[in-house]
């Protein structure tokens, strides 16, 4: 029998492509339903938990709806806010390297949810046009708000593989498998609770901290002439408009502890005045901790506390929120 192109299509190519599609589908399902839910503490897992299609925290009881506290921000949020000391219903969704370009979108996503509880939003005096690791968003990629974020020219990612459901996780199977098998909960000396994740060092090492002080001083010297990193007024306005459009949800705008050496770093005046502008809204409270009493041993570097610092700060924050004792 003469083998025609139809034979080739029917008996060779199409079955091969069908198996390829099946493999990609299995990869997608495996990552979405097995690997993501299992990897406690990673960004993608934390976001999927609240905003994913099968989010366990979506089906909330009335009490949970009213009292769940969502905490958004950058690495300073992730590392400084230890939720168990703030509230048993608080959940940390801070993402490393995520500036207002990403945090604003996550806030938008939170506003679109059924929750009515307060939101803690970490305010950084600097703003970067970044959203953190793009892999964090893959499990919630279909959400229109996330699509909007990834199309943002500032974000600048190659979306070709992520655009299609079947190829979304192509090349990432091992990455997710590693997250799953080497779950952070299982890692030694790492605290993973209510979205919080930070290594615990029994002995504070002065060396890396001093190195960060030296780097900070060099940075400050570079800006002695009064120059500073300009913040994006566009992103600030975006945040303002978003928050003012949702008066039904209380926002706590809080700055994470920074080492006193950073006080000498020149800061954009817009960054300094913005929290007060936002706090002008009735449903927004602005809190700035007094960290001048924090010893050096509370810091990992000049802009991030370690677990000891996080506990001290979170205890203060939890007490303040419980007492409702806010000082503007």
């Amino acid at each position: 029998m003469r083998k025609t192109p139809a034979h080739f299509l029917a008996f060779y190519l199409l079955p091969l492509l069908a198996f390829a599609a099946l493999g990609l589908e299995l990869q997608y399902r495996g990552i979405m339903h097995v690997l993501v839910p299992g990897s406690e503490g990673e960004n993608h897992q934390r976001l999927a938990r609240f905003y994913g299609p099968n989010a366990p925290n979506k089906a909330l009881t009335a009490i949970e709806t009213d009292s769940t506290i969502i905490m958004l921000g950058s690495s300073r949020m992730h590392i400084s806010y230890y939720p168990p000391l703030i509230s048993s219903r608080a959940y940390n969704l801070g993402i490393d390297n995520c500036g207002l370009a990403g945090s604003n979108r996550l806030l938008e996503l939170e506003y679109a949810s059924d929750r009515k509880g307060p939101i803690i939003f970490n305010y950084d005096y600097m703003s970067w046009p970044r959203v953190g690791d793009v892999l964090s968003y893959l499990p919630i990629y279909d959400q229109a708000i996330i699509q909007k974020m990834l199309r943002d020219p500032e974000v600048n990612i190659d979306r070709s593989w992520y655009r299609y459901r079947l190829t979304r996780f192509y090349g990432l199977f091992e990455t997710y498998l590693s997250y799953y098998l080497l779950s952070n909960k299982a890692k030694k000396n790492t605290v993973v609770e209510q979205g919080y994740m930070n290594p615990v060092h029994e002995h504070w090492d002065r060396g890396p901290f001093d190195a960060s002080i030296a780097a900070r001083e060099a940075f400050n010297n570079m800006h002695r002439n009064g120059t500073y990193d300009v913040v994006s007024v566009f992103r600030q306005n975006e945040l303002y408009n978003l928050v003012s459009a949702h008066p039904e949800r209380k926002i706590y705008l809080i700055t994470a502890p920074l080492h006193c050496s950073i006080c000498e770093t020149p800061t954009d005046p817009n960054a300094l005045t913005f929290p007060y502008k936002l706090a002008g809204l009735k449903h927004v409270k602005f809190l700035e901790p007094n960290t001048s009493q924090y010893p050096d041993s509370f810091f990992h570097n000049t802009t991030h506390v370690n677990f000891h610092g996080a506990k001290a700060f979170s205890k203060w924050l939890g007490d303040t929120l419980r007492k409702g004792n806010f000082e503007r």
């Binding site: 091969l16 390829a20 070709s160 192509y170």
Partner: protein
């Protein structure tokens, strides 16, 4: 357009659909349009450079053919070759030689500095200039007939499967195939598909997986011990083979589906028992090009052993420079030349030693030793090829030969996690076993093999957005 991109997997079926639906007399036009689009999807304006090279050689060949005077023919050929080399010089080597001139000028205490020109290197420039140049030289030598059809000639230059990184074709081999009527063949198409899948496996699963491990070690050799640095050097040997031969497999597989027969570029190169044999198995189309257009015109092996070695060394140094504008490539080429000369010189002594020691009774052992030694020498030379500069290469070599064997678990795994490293070793074992797959297999076996590699590609392929083929930079 990369062979391992989403765009290519959209381009390929659309192109095949249009190609097979069009009547034979229009097919070359579809192929030409697709090839131009293929190149322009990278940087549209650089297509003008290809057209310049194509027309330069097209008209040079016509003028050479029309001339009866030998001196005039030679003059036209010389001008054509100079212009071809000028194109490659301006885009590839101008910055390099300006840098050398400025350094020499500063060292001599002169204040004369030439302005540095940083032009973006057109992808595949070394390949398409060599294609076109070989055609003109062949017409001059009267080895091939003149191609008058301008469409076929441009197609010879821009034929998309081989446009970006070869194989380096010859007019006599490829141009007649554009006239040939396409005939459908089941086995050939199946074999083409299998080759594409296997090429993708080599590139996306093996080469792209090894790349970050090699990169980590080469960028911070001080953090790694001797064994880890040596492993990284071996991994680069595997990476570059899988990267380039993977590209060639995809290129040849696509050409096979289109009923085109391109030159093979690889024939199990790491099975070579000597450096001479290695070059008859590695990047074969380039080796042939240098043999025919550099080594033999220099005199080849016709004027005694000393002249032969000189010609060999020059050919390898030029070959090194062809790869890139950096001293590392020149050293890499020079090393291969020296290894080959040393191999020829020690051949009689080696044979005497084998006879004297009785080892000649164990040809398998001699063969295995030859393969291992050749692999180690090739790996040593690759260190220069991979390094950013000579200092880095020497640093890597120093780390290997320091024999610092104390190391941590993470260091052994070249900065990768346990899971990824273990999977990598397993995949390398599969790659090794794949060398034993016979060339002729049944359709069912071919289908099962393709399925197997496809599954590995899906679950273990790397997609980190940084997976251009190494040879695209040449």
């Amino acid at each position: 357009m990369l062979f391992n991109s989403v765009q290519f997997f959209v381009f390929l079926p659309v192109f095949l659909f249009c190609y097979f639906l069009s009547p034979h007399r229009f097919r070359w036009m579809v192929l030409l349009a697709a090839s131009i689009y293929f190149y322009m999807s990278w940087r549209p304006e650089y297509i003008l450079l290809i057209f310049f090279c194509a027309f330069l050689n097209y008209f040079s060949a016509i003028l050479i053919q029309q001339s009866v005077d030998d001196r005039r023919r030679k003059l036209i050929l010389t001008i054509s070759v100079i212009l071809n080399l000028s194109v490659i010089f301006v885009f590839k080597y101008l910055g390099f030689f300006t840098g050398i001139f400025n350094t020499a000028s500063s060292a001599a205490g002169s204040s004369l500095n030439l302005p540095m020109v940083n032009l973006l290197l057109p992808v595949g420039i070394s390949f398409f200039t060599f294609h076109t140049m070989s055609y003109t030289i062949d017409v001059y030598r009267k080895e091939i007939p003149l191609e008058k059809h301008v469409g076929y000639f441009i197609l010879f230059v821009v034929f998309w499967p081989m446009l970006l990184a070869g194989p380096i074709e010859r007019g006599a081999h490829l141009i007649p195939q554009f006239r040939k009527k396409y005939r459908w063949d089941f086995d050939r198409t199946v074999s083409g598909c299998q080759r594409i899948v296997f090429g993708l496996f080599k590139k996306a699963v093996i080469a792209d997986r090894l790349a970050p491990m090699v990169q980590t070690t080469y960028s911070q050799p001080e953090n790694f011990g001797s064994l880890a640095t040596f492993t990284a050097a071996v991994f680069f040997s595997i990476q570059i083979f899988c990267d380039f031969s993977g590209y060639c497999d995809i290129a040849l597989g696509c050409a096979q589906i289109l009923d085109f027969d391109l030159f093979e570029n690889f024939n199990k190169p790491y099975k070579a028992g000597s450096i001479r044999e290695f070059w008859s198995r590695w990047h074969m189309s380039l080796s042939r090009w240098f043999r025919d257009y550099v080594y033999i015109p220099l005199g080849g092996n016709r004027h005694g052993r000393l002249m032969q070695y000189r010609n060999l060394l020059i050919t390898f140094l030029v070959s090194g420079l062809w790869h890139g504008a950096n001293f590392t490539y020149i050293v890499w080429g020079g090393l291969h030349g020296l290894f080959q000369i040393a191999g020829s010189e020690t051949e009689p002594a080696k044979n005497r030693f084998y006879r004297f020691s009785g080892l000649s009774r164990f040809p398998g052992l001699i063969n295995a030793t030859g393969i291992l030694l050749t692999f180690l020498l090739v790996t040593f030379a690759w260190i220069f090829f991979r390094a950013q500069n000579i200092t880095q290469a020497l640093q890597i070599i120093a780390h290997i030969f320091r024999f610092k064997l104390n190391m941590g678990f993470k260091e052994i795994m070249l900065g990768e996690g346990l899971i990824r490293f273990t999977i990598t070793i397993g995949l390398l074992a599969i790659l090794l076993l794949s060398a034993f797959i016979p060339k002729k297999i049944s359709v069912l076996s071919s289908w099962l093999l393709s399925l197997f590699f496809l599954v590995l590609l899906i679950f273990f392929g790397i997609n980190d957005g940084n997976s251009a083929f190494i040879y695209f930079q040449f």
